[in-house]
Subunit: 82 residues, 2 copies
């Protein structure tokens, strides 16, 4: 398992409820790809959402996001953290 940060753009005006709903949609199916989404942070002004996950691969992260209806614009492994 590795850690990933993914980035969604174009989410201007996202609300707290919408962030919760999107996160819940990921959590509902994440086990099917052995992914776990740990946190998400959103900037409604710029429309950027960052998600931190543990997963077997970037593709697995993306597959869960796609199936949940919100494909990520970038998925990066972040093997270093502090």
């Amino acid at each position: 398992m590795a850690r990933f940060m993914d980035v969604h753009r174009g989410m201007k005006g996202i609300t707290a409820d919408q962030l919760v709903q999107a996160h819940q949609a990921d959590l509902a199916i994440e086990q099917e790809e052995d992914v776990h989404f740990e946190h998400a942070w959103a900037d409604p002004e710029s429309g950027i959402v960052y998600c931190l996950s543990e997963a077997p691969s970037a593709d697995a992260v993306q597959r869960i996001h796609e199936r949940a209806g919100h494909r990520a614009d970038e998925v990066h492994a972040v093997p270093l953290s502090i």
Copy 2:
């Protein structure tokens, strides 16, 4: 106080030690701007580093990063998190 995610690019090949040193350089002076850097994640392959902080403003985050020698390419308030 608010929460911020900032992004540094061009850090290809960053090592665990370099990430620790950069983070320590921030921590050493962060109090002067009432900033606290909570976490950093790095992708040596793409050269992207993400930093999560609490701070009074994006400018305060950037001033600490600049003084520590690593200006951020983007600083975004992330008022929503989960």
